[in-house]
């Protein structure tokens, strides 16, 4: 074991990185997230396309970070990275999924409805 970790540059993960990749990752991330910020602040897209656009930009940003910073690929040498990323997926599904479910129900029951007819037909907290 001794000596194996003395030179950080000897690690395959470290060797994989390069200045070009980091710069590309940085620039692409800033551009993609900046675009999402601008779209959000302009308030001029209809709700549906706004959500799709920002979701798409987020997915792209995630992808560029995973490949350029994190060095994710499907080679055998990188298996731990792939596995650890996949292991976090269930957590994503649990937390985001249950949150969406919860808010849907919560909004129905506690938020003021846009039309009075809808409001009348919704159960209230006390029902």
């Amino acid at each position: 074991m001794a000596g194996s970790h003395s030179d950080p540059l000897a690690h395959p993960e470290v060797r994989q990185g390069s200045a070009m990749r980091y710069i590309a990752g940085f620039v692409s991330t800033v551009v993609l997230m900046g675009a999402a910020l601008i779209v959000t602040m302009r308030h001029d897209l209809p709700y549906q396309s706004f959500v799709e656009l920002v979701g798409g930009l987020a997915a792209l940003a995630l992808f560029s970070q995973a490949t350029l910073f994190y060095g994710l690929d499907i080679s055998r040498a990188q298996i731990w990275k792939g596995v650890s990323l996949i292991l976090t997926l269930p957590l994503f599904i649990i937390t985001v999924g249950l949150t969406v479910w919860m808010f849907q129900s919560l909004n129905q029951r506690t938020m003021v409805m846009p039309t009075s007819a809808a409001a009348a037909s919704q159960p209230t907290l006390l029902q």
Partner: protein
């Protein structure tokens, strides 16, 4: 885009003015005097004994996992004391301010703490106890014990380990500074929303709370990565997964929770920060914000966080009980499985903290059932401990007493947790002190594990045991104090006392409030015993001669090293043959075998950069809190520079030669026989200075 903050702001000092210093408050005057005095005494002693260089070389710049762990525990104990002082203030205020006729003093209508001050006290109490006392103490044990338990020389990333420590320290210092410069949050440890938004909390209190948590949780996250990699990658030959001691297993699972949960907190607080600093509307009550979103995010972190605390606690107890029952742990494999089951389920239950929000029966039903599922693996663990005790040769030493009282608290806390998990019950007791009593049983179990761990592993590190007699006096007063305070608190919960009251309006609560205060007196006495235990033990340290395993009945690998553990841990990396390696070697008379040949040992070099990084992070936090933009910019640039400097440092470390190692090992063995601690300590530091 800076938000207009109420009150003065200047480019040079931000929001900081002389008014920020609460010099007219007598309680804080006394506190400041005491803190300043203690500080002066410590600085004076260091200067008098000419220990500045020693402190810098051996502690502040160290990358040794044991010393880092010790420093984590010291910080945790100091903050535990601070949090206890807050608790004492809360209890005393509530008993004094009872009923409409309660007298008032020091500017309070009833009692001695006005609401403005009282609210800060309980907010600081919760934040400190969970994030700056319990977490560092447990992290300290993991740092100290896990590398030894798995037969490693150090953590996987010794330098990053030091960075984590100093970030945590910087955050703790910020919380302490808030006592004397400005004020602390009044929105509870959970950050009640929208109270934490700028219009409702225009001062710096919430900013102190928010930035302190942000900085410390970066440290915690880095430490989680470090622990996971250490356990996956650094195990000694033969230390296969299912030979790993239970404490190491719980450390692995708890840090998986830490690594996945803390980023959620970071995001929630960053969004809150955007609201407070940039004028966004993530959690505001209007303008499209949604405050439930904050509560949801907070508890997505918050519930896993409580298991982040309890799993290592279970780990400590799983080490102490077998050692003092002289039996292997019962049901090892089920123990490991239960640990991971608990960690997994802890992600599915967060909504039980806001059943009353009104998400409806389906949702509440789902989270109720999920919460109750936790009881199954927890029950498995409790029965495993029981069967370990059953027909064991039990020694009621101090660590064992703490462990057994911990089991008792787990039972009470767990069962009341099950009650709270039933929405129908929860609607009646939510936000009452019944909840407070529930979780104090749980977090006091963490404290029990803390003291069990301190007394159990102390001799391994320092070469002498803590005094048993004073230790027992400490234990019994503390345990009886705990039972007194919290049985009364359960009763008050049923009597309808809600939490966070600065004025306990109902006179019917008086008797139980008095009982609680009596319990607090016991706690204070127990502290005196604790201090006495330390003093007496340190004074008598030369009277003991300790072998590698001072208890004589320990089972796991960490007890194989000489006592106290040399800075390189193992002279030769041990070959592990079985689970409970030391017990196995003892049985076959192999525990004292010496290696035939010594090899050279590669050690990392100390570095001053982590403590500088921590200091810069602290300055940065302070600048952000007071909105001193130039200082924030400078410290941020400083942080980036330090990271760059570090990346050019190859840090090749150095090598201990086989002859040196052999000499030191011989020295340690002789030292143990002759019990010449001071002499040995001399050789020890001498060797370390290489």
């Amino acid at each position: 885009m800076q938000l207009q903050v109420p009150g003065p702001w200047s480019p040079l000092l931000g929001r900081l003015t002389l008014n920020a210093i609460p010099y007219e408050n007598p309680i804080l005057q006394v506190t400041f005097a005491v803190v300043a005095l203690i500080g002066l005494v410590i600085v004076g002693l260091v200067l008098y004994h000419k220990k500045v260089g020693y402190l810098w070389r051996e502690w502040l710049t160290t990358v040794d996992h044991k010393k880092i762990g010790v420093m984590y525990i010291i910080i945790g104990l100091v903050m535990l004391f601070r949090g206890f002082a807050d608790g004492l203030l809360i209890r005393t205020q509530q008993v004094l301010a009872n009923g409409p006729h309660a007298a008032g003093m020091l500017g309070a209508k009833h009692g001695f703490l006005p609401p403005f001050h009282f609210d800060q006290v309980y907010s600081a109490h919760g934040t400190i106890m969970i994030l700056f006392a319990a977490t560092p103490i447990l992290t300290g044990f993991q740092n100290i014990v896990v590398p030894l338990q798995i037969g490693a020389r150090d953590m996987a990333f010794p330098y990053m380990n030091a960075v984590s420590l100093w970030l945590t320290t910087a955050a703790a210092v910020l919380v302490m500074i808030s006592l004397f410069v400005g004020d602390f949050s009044q929105a509870g440890w959970v950050g009640l929303i929208p109270l934490t938004e700028l219009p409702y909390s225009p001062g710096v209190g919430v900013d102190y709370w928010m930035w302190a948590i942000q900085i410390s949780s970066v440290g915690t996250t880095l430490n989680a990565i470090n622990m996971i990699v250490t356990i996956v990658d650094m195990r000694a030959p033969g230390m296969s997964w299912f030979r790993m001691p239970v404490f190491s297993w719980t450390t692995l699972s708890t840090n998986i929770i830490g690594l996945t949960a803390f980023p959620v907190l970071g995001v929630a607080l960053a969004l809150l920060g955007a609201d407070r600093y940039l004028g966004t509307h993530f959690f505001t009550a209007g303008m499209g914000g949604n405050l439930m979103l904050y509560t949801n995010l907070f508890w997505i972190w918050g519930h896993p966080e409580v298991y982040f605390l309890i799993l290592p606690t279970f780990g400590v107890i799983s080490e102490v009980i077998p050692a003092f029952s002289e039996k292997p742990i019962f049901g090892y494999v089920t123990m490991v499985a239960a640990t991971f089951a608990i960690a997994g389920i802890s992600w599915l239950v967060w909504l039980h903290h806001f059943f009353t929000m009104g998400a409806g029966p389906d949702i509440n039903g789902f989270f109720s059932v999920a919460t109750m599922l936790v009881g199954i693996p927890t029950g498995v663990k409790v029965f495993n401990w029981m069967f370990t005790l059953y027909r064991g040769r039990i020694t009621y030493s101090v660590p064992m007493l703490w462990a057994m009282f911990g089991l008792f608290l787990l039972l009470v806390g767990g069962l009341t947790g099950m009650m709270l998990a039933i929405p129908a019950i929860n609607y009646t007791v939510h936000d009452s002190v019944f909840v407070i009593a529930h979780f104090h049983c749980m977090v006091l179990m963490v404290v029990c594990a803390g003291f069990a761990g301190v007394t159990y592993w102390f001799p391994k590190l320092f070469g002498f045991k803590l005094d048993e007699g004073w230790g027992k006096a400490f234990f019994w007063t503390f345990a009886i104090g705990t039972v007194t305070v919290f049985s009364a608190m359960f009763a008050l919960g049923f009597e309808g006392e809600t939490r966070r009251l600065d004025w306990t309006f109902n006179t019917a609560w008086k008797p139980m409030l008095v009982v609680e205060e009596v319990g607090m007196v016991l706690y204070v006495i127990s502290l005196v015993f604790f201090a006495t235990m330390l003093v007496v033990s340190i004074r008598n340290r030369h009277k003991q001669r300790l072998a590698a395993d001072p208890w004589g009945t320990s089972r796991t690998l960490e007890w194989l090293t000489p006592t106290p553990v040399p800075f390189y841990n193992y002279a030769v990396t041990p070959q592990v043959n079985t689970r409970d390696e030391l017990a196995w070697r003892r049985k076959y008379g192999l525990e004292n075998t010496k290696p035939d040949v010594y090899e050279d040992i590669h050690m990392p070099r100390n570095s001053g950069l982590p403590v500088i990084l921590g200091a810069l992070a602290g300055v940065w936090g302070f600048a952000m809190i007071w909105r001193i933009w130039w200082l924030a910019a400078i410290s941020l640039v400083g942080i980036v520079l330090v990271v760059i400097i570090r990346s050019f440092d190859k840090n090749a470390g150095y090598h201990l030669q086989p002859a040196e190692v052999e000499a030191m090992e011989r020295d340690l063995a002789i030292g143990a026989i002759m019990a010449e601690q001071s002499d040995r300590a001399h050789h020890h530091t001498h060797a370390e200075a290489h």
